[in-house]
Symmetry: D2
Amino acid sequence: MIIVMKPDHTKEDVLNIINKLEDFGLRAHLSEGEHRTIIGAIGDERKLQEVPFLSFPGVEEVHPILKPYKLVSREFKSENTRISLNGNVFGDKKIQVIAGPCAVEGREILEEIADELSSLGVPFIRGGAFKPRTSPYSFQGLGEKALKYLAKVREKTGMMVVTELMDPRDAVLVAKYADIIQIGTRNMQNFRLLTEVGNIDKPVILKRGFSATIKEFLMSAEYIVSEGNEKVILCERGIRTFETETRNTLDISAVPLLKQLTHLPVIVDPSHAVGRVDLVPPVAKAAVAAGADGLLIEVHTRPESALSDGAQSLRPNAFKKLMDELKLIAEAVGREI
Amino acid sequence: MIIVMKPDHTKEDVLNIINKLEDFGLRAHLSEGEHRTIIGAIGDERKLQEVPFLSFPGVEEVHPILKPYKLVSREFKSENTRISLNGNVFGDKKIQVIAGPCAVEGREILEEIADELSSLGVPFIRGGAFKPRTSPYSFQGLGEKALKYLAKVREKTGMMVVTELMDPRDAVLVAKYADIIQIGTRNMQNFRLLTEVGNIDKPVILKRGFSATIKEFLMSAEYIVSEGNEKVILCERGIRTFETETRNTLDISAVPLLKQLTHLPVIVDPSHAVGRVDLVPPVAKAAVAAGADGLLIEVHTRPESALSDGAQSLRPNAFKKLMDELKLIAEAVGREI
Amino acid sequence: MIIVMKPDHTKEDVLNIINKLEDFGLRAHLSEGEHRTIIGAIGDERKLQEVPFLSFPGVEEVHPILKPYKLVSREFKSENTRISLNGNVFGDKKIQVIAGPCAVEGREILEEIADELSSLGVPFIRGGAFKPRTSPYSFQGLGEKALKYLAKVREKTGMMVVTELMDPRDAVLVAKYADIIQIGTRNMQNFRLLTEVGNIDKPVILKRGFSATIKEFLMSAEYIVSEGNEKVILCERGIRTFETETRNTLDISAVPLLKQLTHLPVIVDPSHAVGRVDLVPPVAKAAVAAGADGLLIEVHTRPESALSDGAQSLRPNAFKKLMDELKLIAEAVGREI
Amino acid sequence: MIIVMKPDHTKEDVLNIINKLEDFGLRAHLSEGEHRTIIGAIGDERKLQEVPFLSFPGVEEVHPILKPYKLVSREFKSENTRISLNGNVFGDKKIQVIAGPCAVEGREILEEIADELSSLGVPFIRGGAFKPRTSPYSFQGLGEKALKYLAKVREKTGMMVVTELMDPRDAVLVAKYADIIQIGTRNMQNFRLLTEVGNIDKPVILKRGFSATIKEFLMSAEYIVSEGNEKVILCERGIRTFETETRNTLDISAVPLLKQLTHLPVIVDPSHAVGRVDLVPPVAKAAVAAGADGLLIEVHTRPESALSDGAQSLRPNAFKKLMDELKLIAEAVGREI
């Protein structure tokens, strides 16, 4: 940590800070420049996260130097974390695909969708049993009934189940049915929920908050890993910007940046990023070209009747076409799908 | 709802939509212009929230006309909702002030702060027992111990307690000690938590998500009110923008806009908006001038030792000075404080 | 245009609007719903752009239906605009590459860079003679001298010259030397400059303003085309968001969206979008996968001595490697590069 | 400037940077911490603005310490800059008011508006002769004719004229008629225009770019001042955010922040910030409460016929009411209006 003093600081101000650093077991390194005096903190600056140096007399600016996350960083662990489910590995050469409806709306329709996906060889089915909806009057999900339908699909097709947890009280229930637990964008900083899944022995897909910085995203992953669950899959799904033509703006550079900063697998959800079925394929292709380890795509056999997010769900034939195209791009970047 | 058809739509596309509208009990009103055909939905369009018209063949654009919230709207209830606690009313002429530390850090320090505030006549003390922190390594709050300290302060000073709930499992516990329950910015769309406080008979301060639109903010309030709890106080606390000099950007126009759209009281938290103690006073003044019904201000007797947000906490003397200045502005806009 | 009336509007309010519409040669179509009265404007609503219906008594909301741009829209012209320079076509199967330093810093260094690019078969060289710099103390470009160096490079290597115009007074000068005139992100809404290049018979690369919506971007293109110059190449170069790890956030979905809305070619500048050399290659790949018609990439032989944007300039060997990789992706999406 | 080295840097990497610093006449100060090696640059770091240290081998992060602007900073000049026009001073106790239509639409309507404002004692009239419009099909202003009408108004009423310059080629013309030259939000980084008004001996109102940071805003002011014109008035007018209910989001904290960072006067334009006439008064009040030195308000006698921005123009009676209310708030903060 670098603490920059105001031009009019006093010697006492500096002493004050040096003492504080020493209280926390760090040493101070003083550098008096022509324009500014600078104090460097030597030692583990993470201990200083709580100290409001900005409110100390004489302080102008504070620059943290170390990244605030540790366990999830490449510095801590240089090789890729590989998360394997029945031989399907996230974080390896093969790009994993998760597809399915936004919400589980009924047994028949779920099976109809699953049959299509299964016949295309998709290993993971997604479908919400509990739905975080902006409106209290919108469809909130079928709850445990939906989880049971998903389990049935697994039994029948062998597909593994990805479903969202939005309440710590449902953790045991969801973990019982899910192969991968999803934490949604609005819950990325629901820290109690993160702690909860940190104590479950199942892989977790953590979606980036639609207004979370990369740093905050990694800090949320750190919550889960620091509780003991290292099987975290990061999912970029678009951020909120001023642009209104698309639902969100996919931060495509987040993919290579995350791959650089962390050892965790990084997947992309093009469907929620753009919110429009016509833009899902080109954005999915971009994600693969940029190095994503997986894709999370909404597919529905009858999008016009979907109870949630129909406007962004691909029909099976469009999805099949996309998969064929993605295969070529995956190969072009030395991957497979 | 207005549905705009593409120039190349077919008659069947239009029929398809008319049928769908009728399925939901609405009527269609067709208008064929020179450039576009437009279908208006007549009836309660809120029923259509789930229908993904954008994925229907031939559809170009969809414009909702009705606001998606109802119970919280001025249209539904024109007079101000007044929330009274021991004669201190939110939503009335008098501007209510809530002050205190970000987190309850210990009994002595809390009492020290409370004594200062109490002597200034502040009716509400704030202090977090459960703290949502970006880092798992940061101070997470003292939990029930903190709630007990707050209750002690109430007993001793008569100040009422405002404290945050961040986990539905703590709802009963927090409700037992709090006079007003606070829902933090990161939980504005934690819908399970909203449902939970919708079923508690205590006033709720709902903080705007730092990236929530006004519409989403009101939809979250609608969640609480639709469960039966009408005592919701909205709190503008800054939104995330590209500017980095301040922690967030206070959306000052949100105050009069919310007062126009809803009957609920609207308060402002200048401390979290700016994140810097030097900017809290001018922004607090602006909030009062713009019509805020209350203020939520961080005050700490020893900000340099605060375990959370020390950089934005006013010392008691600065707070006292601010209160004196706010008094004049409140009068200038026909209010009191 | 759809005008939504407030619940408490009067008949006079409606009449008032109908009269106004008729003044502008449009007809009104009235639709009285259960909750709202809606007035549709029939005719060319672009004539209404100046009418502030929101300030009319009784009006609640105004929704434009027609897009505000015309000449640049796919609706106006469905086939791709192809802009050809010596057989190198923007808007065709082949993806065009423009590379070079941010600024022209001297004759020797420019020639050194050009030789590298030329040997790789890059058809277009970029280099700023006039530099829009945030600081008045930064290098502002060599002016005409730089233009002459660029011309020399063209003479020697056959590469065509892309360079920025930032002042209408330099238009004749720049047009004399440039093969393609670039309008920078900060000048996307410098309407006088747009008008100026609208009257020059040279292709124009119009960079998206870093905070411009897609609609505003297309309106700026409309400025140029409406003056008579149809040779406009749109360039997505990242937008400003809350994320600070990258210089800007590349809006990858803008590529397919623009291709859908307009017939103009769309290229991508990954260098300015990310501002970091390590992220340029993955983002460039994503752009090609998403359907870009070209790339604008900063290349420098000695980035550590560059007078502008050195941190985002690829060295020739990294650029060569990228081109090889892009070739495979281009093929995977049915293009060539 | 602080340069943070990667954990795996070499001694050569460090030497390389030390040499570079010395090339620019600065000294290096090395600090080897437990986790990172840090190099501090001692001397005038502004000389280093062009050096892309991030592209040097072994470098992880670069933190500038000095602010990039100088002449406009409080550090350079601690007392307020006072800009006086006929005894009306910007930057003093009295809050200055500039009012008038967005654009000059004709002689009669301008005089009608001016008469109203003049009778209320408003010292400055605004009105655009050259209008930067998003659409090429919108009213672009009456040009010199409008300037002449404004001059007539000055002659008749004694009001001083504020009008926008958008093209360096019009600088002499506009300077001939204007008392204060306005640079619009879209031209805040039109550096040639800034240089131009830096050489004119007239006060300049510099509007903040709607996506400019405070730093960039001050750098643009630095452009003007560094050319010799110290009479710059900064104008906060709202920034672009994700919120769509208002045209822009007024950054209220920018007012006290700018007053702290610079000696230049700071005014606020509430009309463009909110874009809705109903929100202009509360936001104008907030601006005064937050410490603004002036206000720029759109007033029109017939907003429904305005050729530009009618939806945000106050009628004279609403403006008069606002002025009465502002008087009280100004007094409450120790100012007058």
